[in-house]
Symmetry: C2
Subunit: 200 residues, 2 copies
């Protein structure tokens, strides 16, 4: 854009235009909006981002994104129910939390098994999951993975790996459409699928 | 959202969700994307925003957004062509600059006259425009305002105010947009294009 605004403004627009879901037009709109309200919102947003950029990290237990070593879910004694819900990504964990149906703890894999992309069990947090089963008196593992080929391959691999532990393994059942991704589902469907989980 | 991430992350998401064109879902997506790439992009974005929030202001001459008292267009001697293009908002100025067709300077009104919203000439930068006509040896004022009732009311008001100065006043041509199909155009545009027809 060979235009009038100062270099930082232009750089800010082009940086924001590269964010997922935004483009040059929405980036310009957002930046103009923020500049008009700069008394408050932009400085606040800048300092929030600086804080989060500085402190955001993975929970050492479950892989959720948090600002301390352990996320609020893992440190909440009320959630030590012996149930671990295994999800692919942090976005899936957040989606399940919005449904408010699950009262246990989570385990974020960080991806799905994929021969094509050369992602094996050790690239995901599967060894950590197996270690948790032994350490945390887990009675049930809920595999809340996407109903895609990769998701179900990963689910089967985990079920096989955990078979020796004797832990009950369940999977989300009704409500997840074939080919659907958790992050895009409505809260009601996710809740229904969680309530109707069945033995894997 | 009663979820796991730390307070700053939640606040960042809700703040971003209020930006124009974004919503809760896109805000979550953007924040997760930034956290994953936090080594670089998020800190960079935070510092850009802090800089811009600190330094962005209106050009004292034209009203463009800039990081110094005068914007790069107003300080560029090559653009002292005696032509001033009057636009409603900074976004319009940027749109014209992307077209690269105009080589003069701009004047941003900051809105349109509106009896309903009680916006009068002194709420816009119209007095400053009149002052510039006298100060800057202006030969032509191009009214690049929207083809809406408010835009055209404003254009007529400015044309009347500038009549005594003897400066040439022009407006953007109305007609069929490039790539536009007649079948999909509104009647008003077709009528205007027909009236303003020119020799082929």
């Amino acid at each position: 854009m060979a235009t009038g605004p100062g270099d930082d403004i232009e750089t800010l627009i082009t940086t924001m235009a590269r964010l997922p879901g935004l483009g040059p037009r929405s980036a310009r709109r957002v930046v103009l909006h923020l500049i008009r309200k700069r008394a408050g919102q932009m400085a606040q947003l800048a300092s929030l981002m600086a804080n989060v950029a500085e402190s955001a990290r993975e929970c050492v237990a479950c892989g959720n994104i948090t600002q301390s070593d352990l996320c609020p879910i893992c440190t909440d004694p009320a959630r030590a129910t012996g149930e671990i819900c295994v999800v692919t990504e942090v976005a899936d964990l957040w989606a399940l939390e919005r449904g408010r149906a699950f009262k246990g703890r989570y385990h974020v894999l960080g991806g799905s098994l994929s021969a094509l992309d050369e992602i094996g069990p050790d690239d995901l947090r599967i060894p950590q999951l197996i270690a948790r089963i032994a350490d945390e008196h887990v009675s049930e593992v809920i595999l809340a993975l996407s109903a895609t080929v990769e998701g179900q391959t990963t689910a089967h691999y985990i079920a096989d790996s955990l078979a020796v532990t004797g832990v009950t393994i369940t999977g989300l059942a009704q409500g997840v459409p074939i080919g659907g991704e958790l992050d895009y589902l409505d809260d009601g469907t996710i809740t229904a699928a969680l309530r109707a989980r069945r033995k894997f």
